[in-house]
Symmetry: C2
Subunit: 252 residues, 2 copies
């Protein structure tokens, strides 16, 4: 049995709470948040607190707060030499106050309040500054996920950056597609199967092998047609830049 204290009440903290709660091998000793209202609805199932001086003892303290709040919160912890991790993709483990043993427990997924998450399929990237802390963190991770991976800081930074491309930037391309279809009274919904298939395809094939379309085919006629259709200057720039990127990848 591994005991944890969760600090924070955002999406990651809440989804982690639910995943830990569902595991037979993890006991959540306490859930801390600066504002108690955010977690009060859980008070019948877990010890909640807004008083950092009253944190109870646990094997792992998980700081799941916004990036900028990680360092100050870790400084406020009223104990030493315990095991403290944060859940951020882009913050260094060294940003945690050095009075405690430090690590990172980074779930590589997008979390929103509404959507349910199957945590067993969320890769958890692990990093510890002390070697002996790794196995306990790994044991905790496999309680909730089938995919755990030790990564160093550079790898985690690369994954976090790459995640912005496949998640935020991809979603923005969906948004541009939404604007393009709406401008002609066409249904964005018709694109949804294609969106899903595009994501599905790279589950089994590399993005390189999966590429198709006018840019890869060097189909100048279609590219010209498309650029003529785009009246939004920024959309035109995106079209040109990503077409150039595809042609760079696949040889001019």
């Amino acid at each position: 049995m591994i005991s944890v204290v969760i600090l924070g009440a955002g999406n990651v903290a809440t989804h982690l709470y639910k995943a830990f709660k569902a595991s037979d091998n993890v006991v959540i000793k306490q859930w801390y948040n600066r504002h108690l209202e955010r977690i009060r609805s859980y008070s019948n199932e877990v010890d909640i607190s807004d008083d950092i001086s009253q944190l109870v003892e646990a094997d792992v303290y998980i700081i799941a707060v916004s990036d900028d709040a990680i360092a100050p919160l870790s400084e406020q912890l009223p104990f030493e030499n315990r095991f403290v991790v944060h859940t951020s993709g882009s913050v260094s483990a060294y940003d945690l106050d050095k009075k405690n043993r430090r690590g990172v427990f980074y779930p590589l997924q997008t979390f929103s309040k509404a959507a349910k998450v199957d945590f067993s399929q969320v890769p958890i990237c692990l990093e510890t500054l002390r070697k002996t802390d790794y196995m306990p963190l790994k044991r905790l991770a496999i309680c909730i996920s089938d995919i755990t991976k030790r990564v160093n800081s550079d790898q985690r930074a690369a994954l976090h950056l790459a995640a912005v491309f496949v998640n935020n930037f991809t979603n923005q391309l969906y948004r541009v597609a939404h604007e393009i279809t709406e401008s002609q009274g066409a249904e964005f919904d018709l694109l949804k199967p294609l969106i899903l298939e595009t994501a599905q395809k790279v589950q089994d094939h590399s993005p390189f092998m999966s590429q198709t379309g006018p840019a890869k085919r060097k189909d100048k006629k279609t590219i010209k047609k498309h650029l003529k259709l785009l009246d939004n200057a920024q959309h035109k720039e995106i079209y040109k830049l990503l077409t150039a990127s595809i042609q760079h990848t696949h040889g001019r």
Copy 2:
């Protein structure tokens, strides 16, 4: 029972052949291709031909060839006043030779040789130049797909353009993510659940509502960190442009 003749042997033609073949309400009278070898393996299940003068009679002739080949092939058809459609997203119905009744049967999906396609979930966009041709084409489409939609030329052009954004450009973002992770020896595979979830999320929520991340949060610190990490100039440009696009969408 609706009878069809398929012309062409590319991915779309082959997937259409299989979908029609599986339907009880469609009979494939003939499969034509300029090069017989491409379709010879189907000769025991369908009449195949490479002789355009020998095309048999059918309710609908489906030209599924590359965009530039559509017009010349339609000119070579040795009959008049029959119903001829092409399957392209970006070619006008008027590009078909006017000696026949003309239309478009555009399946909005990405097709590759290897991957199986569940055609029932492929939206088919329909367009006919004569009103009376619409219902027969619709009847044919619903034999193989649950999602059929009448679109005009402008709407089809918008859908085709938008499809490039959600398919080719999105796939290129996956490719960039692949390069970023590989450059640090991190596993691209760890991003696959996120890729899938991103596509899944917009099935039920708008791209606007689905957006998260540093660009939307105006998290300058993380954006700066990311730009510093990117050593590829083109990747940096993509990062900047899509960040600007997100901030434009979500208000600066």
